[in-house]
């Protein structure tokens, strides 16, 4: 029992340390950049005395260490400061933009997993066959074509040429702001409100960016699954399982796949984290108002509070999903319990 508490304490300590490191690095990178945050706020024609007064008001005249201490102090109170661009609290901005990214990333990872894992297993079981080669080509394309190109091609084909999908953005102008925000996920909020036209519109808008991200992630997931499965299928215990007279399905799924599930969960968790951190390029191409776009625009405008806040959220997600993968490891693999 004691060892367990000790381990928990150790995990918590290392998490806190990681988080502190993250704040530290992002903060100082933000501050040593040769950008004067005042220009972003006041413009470059502001008089000297206004500049000086604002500098003092924002505490920017203080030594960096003091500024950092102040930032951490506010952070501990849930205050990420104010965004210069939107003049909202950064926490409000994130609460507004993040659901769009979660929605996009979640749909993408679900589709990618449901397609990628079976494809990977199939490729491994039929190693060297035509199916394996076809899957390899499909995955190689998803993996090696730059995602901005995929996104543009998708727009060109499904929007501009075939006109199957609506254009960019999250919803048609006609539906924007029509339904109350409950969860921030349009696909849920519209259904909640019973506005089925808007519901359909939300899914239609989601389909393209989610499809592009899903294809990209699916390619990676399938390749990893294939590699893991080949490794597992070469195990002696597979021969044992077959010698027991088990069906091929049971050998593949219970014995081989059972042994790779843990490693696969780690891959899926990190892929999901990657998507959540804001698929910056995809969100930009599809004008998807998510965290990635927020981060990009903030960075281009030297809106350092916004950048810092968004980066922290991304870091937290990574850490949380890592923690989840670790927990899954302990749950599914008796050897590390």
């Amino acid at each position: 029992m004691n060892g367990r508490n000790g381990r928990l304490a150790g995990t918590a300590a290392s998490l806190l340390l990681t988080l502190f490191g993250l704040v530290f690095v992002t903060f100082f990178i933000g501050r040593v950049m040769p950008i004067d945050p005042l220009i972003a706020i006041l413009g470059d024609h502001a008089p000297e005395d206004v500049m000086a007064r604002t500098r003092v008001e924002l505490g920017l005249d203080q030594p960096l260490v003091v500024q950092f201490g102040l930032y951490v102090w506010r952070l501990l109170h849930g205050d990420l400061g104010r965004s210069v661009m939107s003049s909202n609290l950064v926490t409000q901005d994130i609460a507004r933009y993040f659901p769009a990214t979660i929605e996009l990333a979640t749909v993408a990872i679900i589709v990618a997993t449901l397609i990628g894992v079976p494809l990977g297993v199939l490729a491994a079981v039929r190693q060297g066959s035509v199916i394996d080669k076809v899957i390899r080509v499909v995955c190689l394309a998803g993996h090696s074509i730059p995602i901005f190109l995929l996104a543009l091609l998708s727009l060109l084909i499904f929007y501009a040429t075939l006109d199957w999908a609506p254009g960019t953005g999250r919803a048609d102008v006609a539906f924007e702001g029509m339904n109350p925000v409950v969860t921030g996920f349009l696909t849920i909020d519209t259904a909640w409100a019973g506005d089925w036209d808007a519901f359909y519109d939300a899914w239609a808008h989601l389909a393209q960016p989610a499809g592009v991200l899903a294809y990209f992630s699916m390619a990676f997931i399938a390749r990893m699954t294939r590699a893991f499965m080949l490794d597992a299928l070469a195990g002696e215990y597979i021969i044992t399982a077959r010698a027991k007279g088990l069906s091929a399905l049971r050998v593949i799924w219970r014995h081989a796949f059972g042994n790779i599930a843990v490693r696969l969960i780690t891959v899926l968790a990190l892929t999901y984290a990657g998507l959540l951190e804001g698929a910056v390029v995809t969100e930009t191409v599809f004008s998807w108002p998510g965290l990635g776009q927020y981060l990009t625009v903030s960075l281009l405008n030297a809106d350092m509070n916004a950048v810092l806040g968004a980066t922290l959220v991304v870091g937290l997600i990574y850490m949380a999903l890592n923690l989840f993968a670790d927990a899954a490891y302990k749950m599914f693999d008796p050897r590390v319990r």
Partner: protein
């Protein structure tokens, strides 16, 4: 139960063309204990695995006859093979550390083998698994049934393997170097256990090993393999009358306690043996 092998060849594609690993092996086996002895690469494991059709996918198998109790293994469907594997013939591999599924408890793995042939509920299967563990002389079968392979010693793991393969009451047991990964003190125990169970159930046994004296001690007949061929086959008691130079050479290389030698003989291989 009768196993008949006539002129079995197993080859693998290689950059230099097909390379033959087993080159015309013939043997028959009833409810008896046959030992197959040979060095690494002599084809003894492949020969045994061909019987269950558990060879690597790249293997190309030909034979005038390869039959298990009248079933033509070369032509049998995968479904027919599954009726042989486990149910009628079990296979014990060398190292339980790798041959047992690391994420399933010992009990679950035995129960799975039992249930696969005998059907029945999960509860019955687990009870059967515990009974089987007791049969392989594990003192605390309940605890071992709940243990994962990494929590078991090598000897225990091999007992679990034996219990698992005996679960469906097969007629033939193929043991592929079942004791090579074990401590010397445990080796004899495991072999004795296996011999005892096989004799009591009237099963056939194929014991593959590179340990000639050990095999001759536990088996009725011994087949000596070299470079993909059976070079000699004789009753275990007649080992001293072995004719083939390879067998003689193997015997000469053995140190004994009763007749100490100053310097052990080294095998000198005659290229003619390969022909």
């Amino acid at each position: 139960m009768k196993v008949e092998i006539a002129n079995l060849t197993i080859s693998f594609p290689s950059p230099q063309g097909m390379s033959q690993a087993v080159r015309g092996v013939s043997m028959t086996l009833g409810a008896e204990k046959l030992g197959i002895v040979g060095e690494s690469g002599s084809g003894k494991s492949l020969t045994a695995r061909a019987l269950l059709r558990l060879l690597p996918p790249a293997a190309v198998v030909t034979a005038d006859r390869l039959q298990f109790d009248g079933i033509d293994i070369l032509k049998a469907s995968e479904r027919d093979m599954r009726a042989i594997r486990g149910k009628r013939a079990g296979l014990i591999l060398q190292d339980p550390k790798y041959a047992l599924n690391p994420i399933m408890t010992a009990g679950a793995q035995i129960a799975e083998a039992w249930r696969n042939q005998k059907k029945g509920s999960a509860k019955e299967a687990m009870q059967a698994a515990i009974d089987l563990l007791a049969q392989v002389q594990i003192r605390d079968p309940k605890r071992v049934a709940a243990a994962y392979p990494h929590e078991l010693s090598g000897g225990m793991g091999q007992r679990v393997m034996i219990a698992m393969m005996l679960a469906p009451d097969p007629e033939l047991l193929i043991a592929d170097e079942p004791t090579s990964a074990l401590d010397a003190s445990v080796q004899a125990e495991i072999l004795r256990l296996m011999e005892d169970l096989v004799s009591r159930r009237g099963m056939g046994l194929i014991l593959i090993s590179h340990d000639l004296p050990l095999v001759s001690h536990f088996c009725d007949r011994v087949a000596v393999m070299y470079a993909g061929r059976v070079v000699e086959e004789l009753a275990a008691g007649e080992l001293v009358r072995a004719q083939h130079a390879y067998t003689r050479g193997l015997l000469d290389c053995l140190p004994t306690l009763s007749h100490p030698k100053g310097r052990l003989a080294v095998m000198s291989r005659d290229p003619a043996w390969l022909a």
